[in-house]
Subunit: 428 residues, 2 copies
């Protein structure tokens, strides 16, 4: 079954000048894909009639459904209505009902409507209005026949809070019908750590028959995720997804910290909660990043009991109880100090687990023996203590991020009964 | 002088499926516009050879300069190199130097390079490498002649932290030359906080004669920046920029925390250093975010002396010395507790300044009296103590971010001799 093809248009000088980030296109794309459409292109152009016309013409040549945002406002640089009328070879006609509604909206605010606002009610002949409950500009639908094929064109305002309900409540249900198939799409995502995207690619190659499902990767470090998508009639699709997911699971298992849209910090939080465990942190080189990430998860207050950012030796000794003799003998960046920091944090927080990081994030502070990127992680519980040295790379922010990710992965592995130091492929 | 036309391409299924927000196109657009280019279109396509080819062909038909991101990875769905080779009618050739570099990057991590990684060093014949200091995929430049016109094509990786320095350090200086005019563009940026983008727009309206310079905004909260750009022959341009910047400075002064590409945390770090001051943190609702932000700045270890993440009451009492009677009487989310936290942090760290946050980040934990978004900030020195309650909005991550930004702005204002509580327009 061929997918119905869709294109997305975003119009506005604020987008092509980088002044505003286009979040509409991604939002619409996500909804279209979930509805079974294949998004062939996103086209973004500024407020010029010939560029908007180019974008519509390109979209009409490739897609059956086109969803546009922007250019519906009252000012001279809002050109979507008139450009689309030109492309469709239709006159602009005043929609009296919409004109009336716009007048009423101004009256309700106690203001007189500037005459240029009526421009928003001038729609290409044959358009069907898509009401805008939250703003003056109505959206509209217009079918344009091109090379014997009907292009379903939808014009929506660029303001996200106006656009979103119009898309979800009016357009998506209509598109379900237009697709003319019962087939649905279902996907399942695995979150991984400790494996590169290319190695992951090799690992899952052949896991799923291409006829059964499609595998896609997404690397937004520290998250590398792999998603399998299946499609078909509603009856069988869930079973097929389960089957495909199970084949993926067999391959990615050792590197997978969660399934679905879960972050490492959320996965760790869930494991801590499930085990009735709590954690206290002693952060040197990560500077608070581990605490920040863990507390981004709602409910973290029940298991993050305390954290200490101990950058200098004094804080390490005074707050965490690290021995001066340990600092003198091994240096602040050492397994020995990391272990004393972790124990100190655990004691202060009266927590099940103590986690510590100490290292050289750079760009300065490195030595021949301990170059920039040298990081020690320690994790202790009442029963066991783990510590390890890593040699990481990249700039300061990167070393911090990578250290926080490895440290959180340690917590996860300890909670599922693994030796954390044996696991990460990133170790030297 | 006509501006040179540019187009931006973004490639990746994760973009056309809405799984990843495309932030690259906006970033590149902003830089191109500041360099004097007119961005005629942004084209986003998935990982299909024919769609990528369509995007390049469309871009070549309209633009003199094309900047593409994505599709340079090692996996089978990374198609930019081969598609561009096809369009240019050139073979792919292995760049030995880049192949060697990729092998070395893997060796440095103690890993064996999967053979598919070599794909990244296969470039269209005639390409000029744009080195990637932070990742395996090299970027490259390729000139393609189309209808007697040279299209300057640039292919960059999709990972923003890899792409950005390649654009700024390598491509933009080259584009300055390619523009084929002696005129140069110079711009100056002001970073602001405590004012909305539209209010900022009104504030600077008319500050600079449009014939002299152009004003552009960029809102990527918590940063709202305004940039003034002047252009002209090299001789006079710096003086004109100074003049324009001075006029802007008069307007934005009260809201400006830094000039240039400075972050709030870097501005605060610089002020602490210049004043010989140090800081200690007591973070409850921000969970380590302030420490994380401050320690993202190289050299932060000289002024961030200690930090405590004190989520629960126990840590507030045991580590920071908050009185049980204060907690009982005012509750953990109060000015009184915030002040005791700040004093405790200052004492522990033996620092010039103590900074504390306590609040309800949500989504749960709010009450009628202290709803979600209630945040108290306290800042103390040997001489003075400040505390204030804010009513913030948004989700958990947003409340944390906004709180960290206000708190850092307090430190900045205190160090320049202002009353921090009197400044933020966000106060209730």
């Amino acid at each position: 079954m061929a997918l119905t093809k869709a294109a997305i248009l975003s119009t506005g000088d604020e987008l092509t000048s980088g002044r505003t980030l286009d979040t509409n296109a991604g939002f619409i794309a996500e909804r279209l894909v979930a509805t079974g459409f294949d998004v062939v292109a996103v086209l973004v152009v500024g407020d010029y009639r010939e560029r908007i016309a180019w974008a519509w013409n390109q979209a009409l040549a490739q897609a059956d459904v086109i969803i546009s945002t922007g250019g519906l406002g009252p000012t001279a640089d809002d050109l979507t209505n008139e450009t689309l009328a030109e492309i469709a070879d239709k006159p602009l006609v005043l929609d009296e009902e919409q004109a009336q509604r716009i007048r009423q909206m101004f009256a309700a605010m106690g203001r007189t409507m500037p005459e240029n606002n009526l421009k928003q009610a001038l729609l290409p002949e044959g358009s069907i209005v898509i009401p805008n409950a939250l703003g003056t500009a109505p959206g509209f639908r217009l079918d344009i026949v091109r090379d014997g094929r009907v292009g379903r064109c939808f014009a929506l305002p660029g303001v996200p809070r106006e656009m979103k309900p119009m898309l979800e409540e009016r357009i998506l249900p209509l598109l379900q019908e237009l697709r003319g198939t019962r087939d649905v799409y279902r996907s399942h995502t695995f979150q991984t750590f400790g494996i590169s995207e290319s190695a992951l690619d090799e690992l899952v190659a052949g896991a799923v028959d291409p006829a059964l499902g499609r595998i896609a990767f997404r690397a937004a470090f520290p998250q590398i995720s792999v998603r399998v998508t299946v499609h078909g009639p509603p009856e069988g699709v869930d079973a097929r997804l389960s089957e495909a997911a199970e084949r993926m699971r067999e391959r990615v298992g050792p590197y997978c910290y969660g399934e679905g849209d879960v972050t490492m910090e959320a996965a760790v939080g869930e494991l801590l909660t499930r085990n009735g465990a709590t954690i206290a942190l002693a952060e040197s080189c990560t500077g608070g990043l581990i605490g920040h990430r863990l507390t981004d998860v709602p409910g973290a207050s029940s298991y993050v009991l305390a954290g200490v950012v101990a950058y200098g030796n004094r804080a390490k000794m005074d707050v965490l109880g690290v021995q001066r003799s340990t600092l003198d003998r091994y240096g602040a960046v050492s397994n020995e100090v990391a272990v004393e920091m972790a124990n100190g944090a655990r004691r202060i927080g009266n927590a099940t687990l103590g986690l510590a990081t100490t290292g050289i994030a750079g760009p300065t502070g490195g030595t021949a023996e301990k170059p920039v990127g040298t990081v020690h992680i320690a994790l202790c519980s009442a029963q066991r203590t783990f510590a390890h040295r890593y040699q990481l790379w990249g700039n300061r922010q990167w070393v911090k991020l990578l250290t926080s990710q490895i440290a959180l992965d340690w917590v996860r592995r300890v909670l599922v009964g693994e030796d954390p130091t044996a696991s990460a492929i990133l170790r030297r």
